[in-house]
């Protein structure tokens, strides 16, 4: 039977996008087998019992595939572990008596809605601008009728594992969205289905990215280091290449 952990939490509380926020301190007793989000459930139950406002935080699948659980934990998106989301982080990664500071993603393009919950609509608008392929309606085409070499399919799939969580933006000192945009552009530019919009896509997505107020990439590599899906930095080089060649062709 594992011991209970006493955790000193410092959580960012902000009533809405217009108010200024501040850190509040809480004490929580957590079981080492709890996920980080379950620890927050315990905190919120405690707060509700005390008649106080629970902490607003985003979550959905709680199994690392939806990308909702945005929390910066002790200065790192999704906490200290590599390749996991907050919902996949367990309290056994902390020690009894630890102070844990929890903040929202901070980027001008991701305004705070409340507490730890931010509006990531900017990502949706970037995808809407070009992160799609056009297909004919009607019967589904046989999966093997379009031949794709295995290594290309693997590379495209690696980029496709992006869950749109925004950890890359939150980790980047410039709040740049290049890893996210690079992942989508890489995935679609490698596949035959993505060729029709290849050039217009990358230009439209980068235009939207710039318009949303994300910063410019300075290749610090923080994004790839913190990405829960370990999307490699090379997708940014691909994005630079795709964008430059589309532009030089007059797109």
């Amino acid at each position: 039977m594992s011991d209970t952990l006493n955790i000193n939490l410092k959580v960012w509380r902000q009533a809405n996008g217009n108010e200024k926020g501040k850190f509040e301190s809480y004490q929580v007793q957590a079981n080492p087998d709890m996920s980080f989000l379950e620890m927050f459930d315990v905190l919120n139950e405690q707060l509700i019992e005390d008649g106080r406002e629970p902490v607003a935080f985003d979550h959905d699948c709680r199994e690392g595939i939806c990308g909702m659980c945005s929390m910066v934990i002790n200065g790192r998106p999704h906490g200290p572990k590599q390749g996991v989301t907050t919902c996949q982080l367990h309290m056994r990664s902390f020690k009894d008596g630890d102070t844990v500071v929890v903040e929202p993603w901070r980027a001008s393009a991701f305004p705070v809605i409340k507490d730890l919950s931010v509006d990531r609509g900017a990502f949706d608008r970037i995808i809407a601008a070009g992160g799609y392929v056009s297909v004919n309606t009607g019967n589904a085409v046989d999966a093997n009728s379009i031949l794709i070499p295995k290594d290309v399919a693997d590379k495209a799939f690696e980029a496709a594992t992006c869950i749109g969580c925004g950890a890359c933006v939150s980790a980047c000192k410039n709040a740049s969205a290049m890893l996210f945009v690079g992942a989508k552009v890489t995935q679609l530019s490698m596949l035959p289905q993505g060729q029709a919009e290849r050039e217009s896509r990358v230009v439209a997505m980068v235009n939207q990215m710039d318009a949303e107020g994300f910063g410019a990439c300075t290749n610090t590599g923080a994004c790839a280091a913190e990405c829960p899906k370990e999307i490699p930095l090379s997708v940014i080089a691909t994005l630079n290449r795709e964008y430059t060649s589309a532009k030089l062709k007059g797109r």
């Binding site: 200065g75 500071v101 000192k173 709040a175 910063g215 080089a237």
Partner: protein, 256 residues
């Protein structure tokens, strides 16, 4: 021109400017370092002063020089502007910043390092370039080199009103009458505080290049499992050896 307007209007375009000007500056560093190594020759400054005159009078080199000044200013202005834009992309900063666990120190401090280099370039050009081109404090020397023995002899020279630097072939050899930038450099680097400024600035340059060199290739879209390790290796060697070569000159003079 319209095709290239994205270089100034998009985030990726601005980055391309940083990368292209940055790599051009890296090329310049090599040329500049090779020239400066003439200072190590014990020929009374004959080779170095010849080189300095060539660099400031040859029309082709003069044109490239003006291009270089433009590149430095473009790189610096764009770099500072980029850094300011990037700050705006995060209006509220983190309470706890985990930057050191996911990125290198130099990558996070390019603008500060660049600004140190920029100030240094100002000091350095004021010290030597401005003095050489427009000042009247530099003394003159005349040199003669014997073609058979390659031996160089020199003497102080008193310039006349409106004196021009010149070189000509003479019986059995070659002569040069030139401003003695060599002795100017030598005297400067006998002052420890000047040497300290130079050495610290080269340290800043080293860190700037440690991130900058390989970063430029990533910006240009070159990232490949076979080539990237080579680029990283060359980048690291460049970032250490080139600033070291520059720093060696003032240190050598000081401890001579």
């Amino acid at each position: 021109m319209k095709l290239l307007s994205f270089l100034f209007t998009s985030s990726i375009g601005r980055k391309l400017i940083m990368a292209l000007t940055g790599l051009f500056l890296c090329l310049f560093l090599i040329v500049h370092l090779i020239g400066n190594l003439q200072l190590f020759k014990a020929d009374g400054g004959y080779a170095f002063n010849h080189y300095a005159w060539f660099m400031t009078s040859n029309p082709l080199i003069k044109t490239v020089s003006w291009g270089l000044y433009a590149m430095i200013i473009l790189h610096a202005v764009k770099g500072i502007y980029l850094a300011m834009q990037n700050r705006k992309a995060r209006e509220v900063s983190y309470g706890v910043n985990g930057g050191s666990s996911n990125s290198t120190w130099s990558s996070r401090n390019m603008a500060i390092l660049g600004s140190i280099i920029f100030i240094f370039i100002g000091i350095h050009m004021g010290d030597f370039w401005r003095e050489y081109k427009f000042g009247d404090e530099i003394t003159w020397k005349s040199y003669t080199q014997d073609y058979n023995t390659q031996e160089v002899t020199w003497a102080d020279y008193t310039p006349v009103e409106g004196q021009k630097i010149y070189a000509k072939d003479i019986e059995g050899g070659h002569m040069l009458v030139a401003k003695d930038l060599y002795v100017e450099v030598w005297e400067s680097f006998k002052q420890p505080w000047i040497v300290l400024i130079y050495v610290l600035s080269m340290l800043a340059l080293s860190f700037h290049l440690l991130h900058g060199f390989q970063s430029a290739f990533q910006t240009l879209g070159v990232n490949h499992p076979s080539y990237s390790p080579i680029i990283q290796f060359i980048g690291r060697a460049f970032a250490i050896l080139v600033p070291l070569g520059f720093a060696a000159i003032p240190l050598y003079v000081l401890f001579q």
